[in-house]
Every structure is written in C-alpha cells, then in structure tokens.
Amino acid sequence: MIKTIVSTELPVDEQFRIKKNVLQNGKGGLRFCVVTGTHGDELEGQMVCYELAKLVGEELNMLNGTLEIYPALNPLGIDTIQRGIPNFDLDMNRIFPGDPHGTMAEQTANAIIEDIKGADMVIDIHSSNLYLRETPQVRINVQNEDSLVPYAKLLGMDFVWVHDAATVLEATLAHTLNTNGTPCLVVEMGVGQRINHKMCRRLVGGILNLMQSMGMWSDRKMPDITPPLICKGNQVSFLNAETSGVFLTELKCGVEVDKGETIGLIVDPLKGKVLSTVTSPQRGYLFTIRAYPIVYEGSLMARIYNYEEI
C-alpha cells in the first residue's frame, strides 16, 4: 500500500509528496523501515528499494510483520540532481529532528521522524557523494556501538566503521532515531549519481538476512554472509591532497594497501608534471577513495583502516 507521509503545495500547480510503500503480512508485530534519498545525489538506495519492493511484494507470504520502504526523503533534490533541498541552505541530514514550527524543510524533517519512530529497525542508505567512492559499509556512532554492531554484522557489508561522536552529527536522521530508542543503521556504499548493481543486490540480501534473524522473513535460500571488518574511529587515517590538481589512480576501494604504496598521483595537465603523490602511511584496508578527479589542497583522497594483520 502506498502512503503519503508529507504533502505540501508548491507554488505553481504541483504537490510536493513524500511517499512510502507499506508491505504487511502475517501476525508479527515488528516494523522494519528502509529509508533513502535524503541526499539527492545518492542513488544506490533507489535500486535497493526497487529490488526489495519487487521481491517482498512477489513473495509476501515470506514476510511476517511490516516492511516500510521510503525511496525518496528529498524528492526535489533527486529530481534536480542536487544533494540538498532546492532553495534551502542546510544539509537535510543536519536538521533532524526538524521543527513543526520551522521552515518547510524543518517541518518535513519533523514529519519524517514522527512517521518512522517506533520502528524495530531502520536502514538509512547513503551512497557517498560525487567526490568519493566507498566500500559497502555500515557506520555507527560510538554511543550505539554495543546495541547496533550485532545487527550490522548481519547486513553482509564489507566493513563496519564505529566512528566518534560529533556535535554536528547529532542532527542526523540516524542519530535522532537512535537517541529516541529506534535502532537505525547507516549504510554507505558506492559513489554519488551512479548505481552499482552488485553492491545493491548484496545489500538487499543483507537486509533480508537481518529481517530473517528478527523473525520477519523466512527463506531457505539466503545468501552466505561474510563477517565484516570492524573498525574503531581512531584506527582510520584520512589522506588529504597536498596540492591542487588532477588526481589519477588505478586503484578501487575495498583493497589492502601496504605502507608507502602509491594510491594515486596529483598532476598538472598544463605542464605535464606530477605535483604530488598520494601514498599510504601504513598497511591497511582502503575503504574510501577519491572518485572526482579535480582536487584542491585538502580534498579528501582516501581513508584507510589501519591494522597490523587481516
């Protein structure tokens, strides 16, 4: 059943709507939400929602409980190929829990929280941005490490990053839900404005695996789930560009790198010179790499999980 959770008039002959698909079966009382599209330039979640809605819709008898799918929390952002909400300065994922008396964006954020809260599990799917490519991973605030890591292990992602708490991140959808007792896992994978089919299908399998472990899904042919690497925030190196220029690399993320290994070159196309070399400061697991080649001093080039041995 398609439900509208937010409906507002736009100035000229158009209604702004945020919709969800509610799939329900059996006597189970658990509610599982899959949300995405907060950032309009992140599209992997669109395929995940499509595959889930199709698969569960066709095999509804395997569902025991309620699955709610929200493909587009920021439909105008997706439609206009922009990360944020058109004509609004702030990142939508920095204004939760919103404000029923605030701007239209803040009212929308509030309505989203009111609709989702109380769910037994929420998966918030992101796909980096235009600039960075990410290994399929789950991100968890250190404050929720004990309660969420066991669930994250069931999602079939390569990597779980338990990151430090930051005040500015208190206004994310996930933090707001987790603070209010609604468990929420943030998934990051791929790169902005593109869809990686393989990653999306893996996540669909992981979501069904998690639902199965919660007694919400019954399928004998579930995929094998490999345990992810679990990483704490202080074990991550951030590599930033030393020079402005054009970044060239042969590497993809999700690989092991050695200390001193070249991640890529920053070059000057006018003079035909290498301006700087991005190298790994230690052996580790490269889980983020620069995707957009034009860089300025300080641009994030890579993130590496430091470990001694895999």
């Binding site: 736009l10 100035p11 300065d89 208190e170 930033n240 402005s244 300025y296 300080g298 641009s299």
Partner: protein
Amino acid sequence: MRIETIFEMTSPYRDKFRISGYKFGSGEKTLAIVGAMRGDEVQQQYICSQIVKRLTVLEQCGDITEGKCILVIPSCNPFSMNVSRRFWAMDNTDINRMFPGYDQGETTQRIAAAIFNTLIEYKYGIQLASFYVPGNFVPHVRMLRTGYEDIDTACLFGMKFVTTCEPRPFDTTLLNYNWQLWNTKAFSVYAGQTDQIDIENSETTIDAILRMMSRTKIIHHKSIAIDYRSIIADEGELQHIKAGHAGILYRVQRVGSRVVPGDTIAHIIHPYNGQILEEVKATTEGIIFFAHHRPVVLQNALLFMIYSI
C-alpha cells in the same frame, strides 16, 4: 593601513585563491571584522569595503586609539563570488559551517582554520552574516547563546534590535559560536540584505559598527546617525507567520513596519487565475522583524517574524 595575505592556495585552473586582511592601528588585537563568507554576500562585502575606506581616513587623521589594532577581512570567499555561487564552488560546502576549522582537513576546513587562527585573540569580533532562510531583516545584532554572549556590548551598536538564540547542533560549526568559545566577544551583524546592495541599510550598519568602535574607545568618531536604545529579543519569542497556501507572494508591508492584529501584511495569489488565495494577516501587535523575499512561496513557508510589543 597594511594589507596582509591571510590564506593562499593554488587552484588547478584558476588564479591563486587569496584571503586578504586590512590592518589599521597597532598593538593589542582589539577588533576583527569579517565580511563575505559566502559568494552571494554582496551587501556584507560592500559594507566591509566602506569600513576599510572610513578607517583609512580615520587612521590618516590619527583617530584610531593608540595601541589598538583593527583587522578587516572583506571577503573570505572571493572564488565563489566570482562565479556567482553561494558556497565553495568545487563541493558546495559552506565555509561558515566549518569552524573552528582543521588545517590538515578538507579544503574548506583548511580555509576556516586559517581564518580562525587569524581571528582568535581579538577582543571583539564582528561578522557581517546572512541567514539560512531567504529574506530581509531589520538590521540587527545577533548572538548565539553560548554563555559567553555579551548583550551590554551588543547594545553599544545602537541598532534597533539585539537578538539571541539557542544554538542548535548545526550552529556549533559557525564562526560566531566558536569565536565566543575562544573568548572573543563575537557579534553577527545582519545588514538587512544579502545578494543586493541596499544603500540605506548599509549606511545604518556602517554607522552602527563605527558607533560601537567609538563607544569601546577603539576609534575617535562622532556619529550623527540614528542611535537606538536596542530592543533585546529572544528569537524563540518572535511570532512566526506561515503561508497557508503556495503561490505568488505579494508583500503589502515592509520589514520594520508596525502592525496590529488583523492588518493585511501580504497576499498569496493563485499563479494561474490571479485570485487571492490568502490574505496574510498580522496575529499580534508589533514590528515586522523578518520577511520572506522570494516572489513565490511554498505552503507552510515562513513568511514573517514579528516582534510583539
């Protein structure tokens, strides 16, 4: 007056990115003024340019107090203004949401760090700011309530309003918030406009800043402009008036107008047939403090904020 380069960075395809500071007087780091942080803050940049002009004359006349140093940074983001973008053009990040910055971090974090390292230790700080909601304000001084806000000094500007507001998580990376935490008496000055130059509001703001500098004995200057005994307002107590319908917004009342309950302050007009969909009315007696300024509005958009009398 000395011009100093506060930050410089190479660009792949453009000239070097530079942030320049204009210094007046010498001695104690007394006052820093920051202009455009975003590429559309033309009003803010214009005001800074006029302050540089006025301080140049004051310095030549010996009217800057001995032992006091003043720094003016007219623009922290010339690259964005040159290409008509509000935020950092490469990745759309907002320098004003990167403070206190990080000199080993991403590009706008590094820019923020360089600015912040220059600004700390100044006794007073003024940022010519713009708001995240599009619209016009009565020119005013604004402070986040950090526990360090200095309302008495804010009143020395002699602007009509001094407002305070409770910081939200996304405010903790603003310059004003961090400047206060690092012991600068920091004030955000809203000059009514952002992407247009409004001469009347600019003059009001320039006079207010010079008045504050005079009253804190940084300069010798006699103002003949209107000097208000500031109304101190908590932003949470302003009355919000929203659009009941979407459509074309036709404002009837201006920012600064005094209204009584029932006064029509705007019409929302059907975009096809021209019928009035809604007469927007004042709900309280007071002064229009903020007004939405885009010609079309969404349903439930914030149209006005009224200070109740």
